[in-house]
Assembly symmetry: C2
Homo-oligomer: 202 residues x 2
DNA sequence: AATTAGTAAATGAACGTTCATTCATAGTGG
DNA sequence: CCACTATGAATGAACGTTCATTTACTAATT
């Protein structure tokens, strides 16, 4: 017998593996609980319903990503010694790191995005996560523009473009990993940032 | 009584509406056939199975998009009077046109992308469509680079980035349409192309 | 022109399967 | 002994698919 939070995490991680392997629509309670090595009824005990388990799984993946992003982009964390150029490099490293771009995570991410337009709960979680990324990246870009005295740069437009580019690269990495490698994806994203902030990236 | 091809189209269009409204996992044969105003058994008569109907629906949406893209990017269609700059502008207009960026189409597109990593059939259709876009855009970019004498431009890298950017913008338009408008999305994409080919876009 | 036969399209009740959920029962730690 | 965790057979709803039947149209025959 394990504690409530341990079992919850165990089930969420099993759900992630199931979604990555079988897709969201083929993920059943049988599959998830068996993957977790537990009995069928356990998921309803800890999550009340399948719908809730799926929503909590999305929240878990989203929170994990946002925590990583905030660790890099929260000003108080980077002000003492880290330069803006270093922060920019860290952001790029993080977003195309092994942890973030592993198939399992990306498959889960896009499985929920695909259903988001029909399910308000997913839509809400996804869009509020997007909003946070947008806000933080925009702040960083604004600071860089200010520091670098870049003329005619719109931080909001650049942040929108950069985040869309990252999303699109993830999608390519997921659907056609043979055409686009992670290293090449990183080059593409770096090229975008170099065009935008030539003094801050080399 | 209607002909085979008419009924097939009728059912595919009903499927598109159902996926957009209810999501791929909640799209049932009941829902689709009722949406089409037909009886339950009709879909199996024309498509043999639900799986096949869904695959054909994806092929239909994909083909529609590819036809539009090829009409713009096939060299023989644009050689006589159209300049490369005009082709570039047409491409941008098309990819962020009303027809392509309507919620219904984008919702369907990403619903399949979300399941693609778990279903080989979807993966194959999506990736082969992506490959076509990539090839044609790369050809255009290579011609523009050659014409504009742009130094140090890698057509493959620019095409990868541009297509990823477009995908990411579509995703933003779908999940958070209030944050990003179509007009602003177009501005972002145009800014990318201007940075890449300043002589060809103003 | 009317009748018939033949072919394909269309229907929807019925079937077997699978699913999420429930709950009586059992196990465990304090 | 009590509260909490865990089990998995049982349940009923919903699903994709089938198929006997009906309908609609065409073409050949009288």
């Amino acid at each position: 017998m394990r504690s409530r939070s341990e079992r919850r995490l165990q089930l969420i991680e099993a759900t992630i593996r199931c979604i990555a392997q079988h897709g969201l629509s083929a993920t059943t309670m049988q599959l998830v609980t068996r993957e977790a090595g537990l009995s069928l009824g356990i998921a309803n005990l800890h999550f009340q319903s399948k719908e809730n388990l799926l929503a909590e799984t999305l929240r878990h993946v989203t929170r994990e990503y946002n925590d990583g992003l905030l660790a890099i982009l929260t000003p108080k964390n980077r002000s003492p010694d880290g330069s803006l150029a270093e922060t920019l490099e860290s952001l790029l490293d993080f977003q195309l790191s092994h942890g973030v771009t592993q198939r399992q995570k990306m498959a889960v991410w896009f499985a929920y995005y695909g259903e988001a337009s029909a399910r308000p709960i997913y839509q809400k979680i996804c869009s509020s996560s997007d909003r946070l990324s947008m806000q933080k990246v925009e702040e960083l870009f604004a600071a860089i523009i200010s520091e670098g005295q870049y003329p005619d740069r719109d931080p909001q437009q650049l942040a929108t473009g950069y985040l869309a580019l990252i999303d699109g690269l993830w999608l390519s990495l997921l659907v056609a990993p043979r055409v686009l490698t992670k290293a090449r994806g990183k080059d593409v994203a770096r090229a975008y940032l170099q065009q935008a902030f030539p003094k801050h990236l080399h």
